[in-house]
């Protein structure tokens, strides 16, 4: 029978992780990190926000982009879910709508890597009609 991963294995991993993190702290300042927030209220989750978040976490690491991916609530753009908010260092946050894995891939390659804007941005001056 194969052995099941346990907390003891996590302990073994820690030394390796520590050196990786020390290296990252030395090379970059925290303000230099890309921040990504995935909207995860009922509307976002029902539209596939979980897959998008998992994709972003994995791919940003694979592509060596120092980023932090977190979750946020509903911004009122339920029609455009999944939505994500991307904040590049020293820039205003930009909200993208209708994000699936393909769109997330585009956002990484174009907006995050080169700053090029792409379709699907929800303008900040957009206001809902009451």
């Amino acid at each position: 029978m194969t052995k099941i991963k346990s907390l003891a294995d996590l302990k073994k991993m820690k030394a390796d992780l520590q050196s990786k993190i020390a290296l990252r702290e030395k090379s970059e300042n925290p303000e230099g990190r890309v921040q990504v927030k995935v909207a995860m209220a009922t509307c976002g989750i029902a539209s596939g926000a979980k897959e998008v978040m998992e994709f972003l976490v994995e791919e940003l690491e694979k592509r060596n982009i120092d980023a932090i991916v977190t979750q946020t609530g509903c911004m009122g753009y339920c029609y455009a879910e999944p939505t994500i908010e991307v904040t590049l260092p020293n820039q205003e946050p930009v909200v993208f709508g209708y994000v699936d894995k393909k769109k997330a891939d585009d956002i990484i390659e174009k907006y995050i890597k080169t700053g090029e804007l792409l379709e699907g941005i929800i303008p900040v001056n957009y206001e809902k009609i009451d």
Binding site: L10, L17, Q18, V57
Partner: protein, 183 residues
């Protein structure tokens, strides 16, 4: 929602918004009794009676960004579609416990889904909250407590992708072991 794990991801957002420090997620699969019980409990702000009476109303929400609140109503509807039920207990200043019971073998019961992925997302996005996830299959139980994880990790953040991957694998392997026939 495609599966129950997504409902849990959604319901826990309520606990986060209620400023909970501790969140418990318990799942019990009881083939003998033919039921599946999901419980989410928190030590958040709790709700007054008049709010509690309205939370299952899809046109009630505490949000201002939209006018509907479908998280709890959808979960309730799903539970009731299998002959089950959803109950909430809440005490102001103490917290809230939501309990949904599903008929385990009912054709309308959604699959459990990717619990490992959901737990890891919750833990990594809310490192300041202690999550205790208990999963019981008959009498076998797996307990995942983020307090143990953060104690081991020390200054290593729990939302490091490598840690997230490890935790997901660890949960998946333990859940598989719960279901494996014991020899």
């Amino acid at each position: 929602m495609k599966d129950l794990s997504l409902h849990i991801l959604d319901i826990v957002q309520n606990s986060i918004r209620a400023n909970a420090r501790n969140v418990g997620i318990s799942i019990a699969e009881q083939a003998g009794a033919g039921i599946l019980v999901i419980e989410v409990s928190d030590d958040g702000s709790g709700m007054p009676q008049e709010v509690l009476e309205r939370v299952t109303d899809p046109f009630y929400t505490s949000r201002t960004t939209r006018k509907v609140g479908l998280g709890i109503p959808l979960f309730k509807q799903n539970a009731e579609a299998t002959g089950g039920s959803l109950h909430i207990r809440s005490v102001i200043g103490e917290g809230t416990t939501l309990r949904a019971t599903f008929s385990l073998d009912h054709i309308d019961r959604p699959p459990l889904g990717d619990m490992a992925g959901v737990v890891v997302i919750l833990v990594s996005a809310n490192p300041e909250i202690r999550f205790i996830y208990r999963h019981k299959v008959e009498e076998e139980e797996f307990v995942f407590d983020t307090a143990e994880i953060t104690e081991i990790l020390g200054e290593v953040p729990v939302n490091d992708p490598q840690v997230m991957r490890f935790l997901k694998e660890m949960i998946n392997e333990n859940l598989a072991a719960l279901r494996a026939p014991t020899i």
